[in-house]
Amino acid sequence: MTAIFAQDLTKRYGDLLAVDRLNLSIDNEIYGLLGPNGSGKTTTVSMLATLLAPTAGTAAVCGHDVMQEKQAVRDAISYVPQHMAVDIRLTGRENVDMFASLYGIRDRAERKQRVDDALAMMNLTERADDQVRTYSGGMYRRCELAQALVHDPQVMILDEPTVGLDVSSRRSVWEHIVRLKRAGMTILVTTHQMDEAERYCTRVGIFKKGVLTDEGAPQALTAQYRTVVVIRTEDGAPSRVPDGAQFVQCENGEAIFTADDGAAVLPQILAAYATEGKRVFSSLVRQPTLEDVYLMTIGPVSTDDGAFDRNNFRHVMNRSR
């Protein structure tokens, strides 16, 4: 039995096709869903968490259909949404205990044991009786993870678990996620952090406009491309790219190319810049990363990234309550 299975899973909002015939098979691994904002990641996890009804197709979690056996699905999973929702006036222990109760653990001694275990696993035992408002961002997230694993779920669904956290908190959260996977849990995670996905995910799937366009182990995906050439310039790409190189995109003063043999094609690229009178500050040939694969898959970065992000604003307001 596959922990998470989807076949032709589709979600449509009026004319907008949010998820288009998605096929997934995930079992005993950390599977990362990658994609730009609005690409369908959260819609997908919402359908798997029984929060949204699919328009077409089927999906099952631990063998239970997400439409026909919602209750069984909810018993088997834990869902941690993108925006941290922990009651800040409750203590860490009370937050976790409440979830244990809501998961139906009625025996007081068993509940206490499970709450203690979950808090210990997330390294929150010492601060368990402090109100959550005194916690750091990383501790917030770990408290949410403790809530999520208190009933020993088979599948954990995490929507951007490290958003808004500093580097050390991110690492700590991921280390805990890896420990859960080693304990036999299947974990589906959405993230924008390519370096984290590359380091911690067993497999990743890249979403583009509701379609899963690429899928595989991070190492296998990066192995598709031999080298990346990075040119630091303020003048963009030359109008004529030499044979053997492929222009990917310009971002933050860097023009990125891929090539089978970057070192061999670099002089030709530099010559193309010189011919067109474009200035080059520096150049670099390196191995491709998952971020390169991601950028090549989804294409140029959206130009509305600077727009007001209501969800992020709501998240910040939640944190500052």
Binding site: S46, A49, T50, L51, L52, A53, Q71, R74, D75, I77, S78, Y79, V80, P81, Q82, H83, M84, A85, D87, R89, L90, E94, M98, F99, S101, L102, Y103, G104, Q131, R314, M317, N318
Partner: protein
């Protein structure tokens, strides 16, 4: 469905640990009672405190009940609701938890008001009066909490709900028998007051105090509470099962 208790416990803890919030909800209605009962110049045959105390009790439960909507909106906006909906606990227990919480809080406020009313000169009544008043206020609280929760599930954000709340609460209060006896109202106002659930809550409590039968008003409140619960439950299922 017993799991609604955990949602009630959560809201009670949150309320109890916000000292200013708790102080304001407990003290402000008492301040209104002092203002209305002792300071406002009125021409009234009999003990005006006995008349106005039910009005203040109903106003308090009105405000408290509408807070079910703001609390629901708060959970919706900040992502708690989505998290709760993915839990195996019956989804309706979220809604029941909100209604029970605001009802408990409203009754705690009402107890303080009745105690202060006695201290400042309201007539001492039998135990059954106070028990009956609590029953009436609980029914009324269910009606109002359902209205608030239904509105919050239909509206998009907190600001809109706050506008709805202020648009609804004051007219409901002033076009009822909370401050003015039915007999002193102009005809057009009587028509509105007769359709107002606050009037029935006021009338039922006052009937208890004067020894008259409160059954008609109680029956109206009971029917209203049942109908509003059904509507609110239907709306909740529609809003959460996409």
């Amino acid at each position: 469905m017993y799991r609604f208790i955990y949602y009630v416990q959560r809201d009670l803890r949150r309320w109890g640990r916000a000292p200013l919030n708790m102080f304001a909800t407990m003290v402000m209605p008492a301040a209104w009672l002092l203002f209305m009962g002792l300071v406002m110049p009125v021409a009234y045959d009999g003990n005006y405190l006995d008349f106005v105390t039910p009005g203040i009790l109903v106003m308090t439960v009105l405000t408290s009940g509408l807070a079910a909507g703001s609390s629901m909106m708060f959970d919706k906006e900040l992502g708690y609701l989505n998290k709760f909906l993915a839990l195996p606990a019956p989804r309706e227990s979220i809604l029941i938890g909100k209604i029970v919480f605001v009802t408990i809080r409203g009754l705690l406020q009402a107890t303080v008001i009745m105690f202060i009313a006695l201290l400042i000169g309201a007539s001492v009544q039998s135990v059954w009066y106070y028990v009956g008043t609590c029953v009436i206020l609980a029914l009324f609280s269910v009606v109002i909490a359902c209205i608030g929760a239904t509105a919050s599930l239909s509206l998009h954000d907190y600001d809109t709900y706050a506008a709805f709340q202020s648009m609804v609460s004051m007219p409901l209060y002033f076009f009822s028998t909370s401050l003015v006896p039915f007999s002193s109202m102009p005809e057009w106002m009587k028509c509105i007051a007769e359709c107002n659930p606050l009037t029935y809550a006021n009338d039922a409590i006052r009937a208890l105090g004067t020894g008259d039968s409160p059954w008609l008003a109680l029956a109206v409140l009971g029917v209203l509470a049942t109908v509003m619960l059904l509507i609110c439950g239907w709306k909740f299922r529609r809003a959460t099962l996409n």
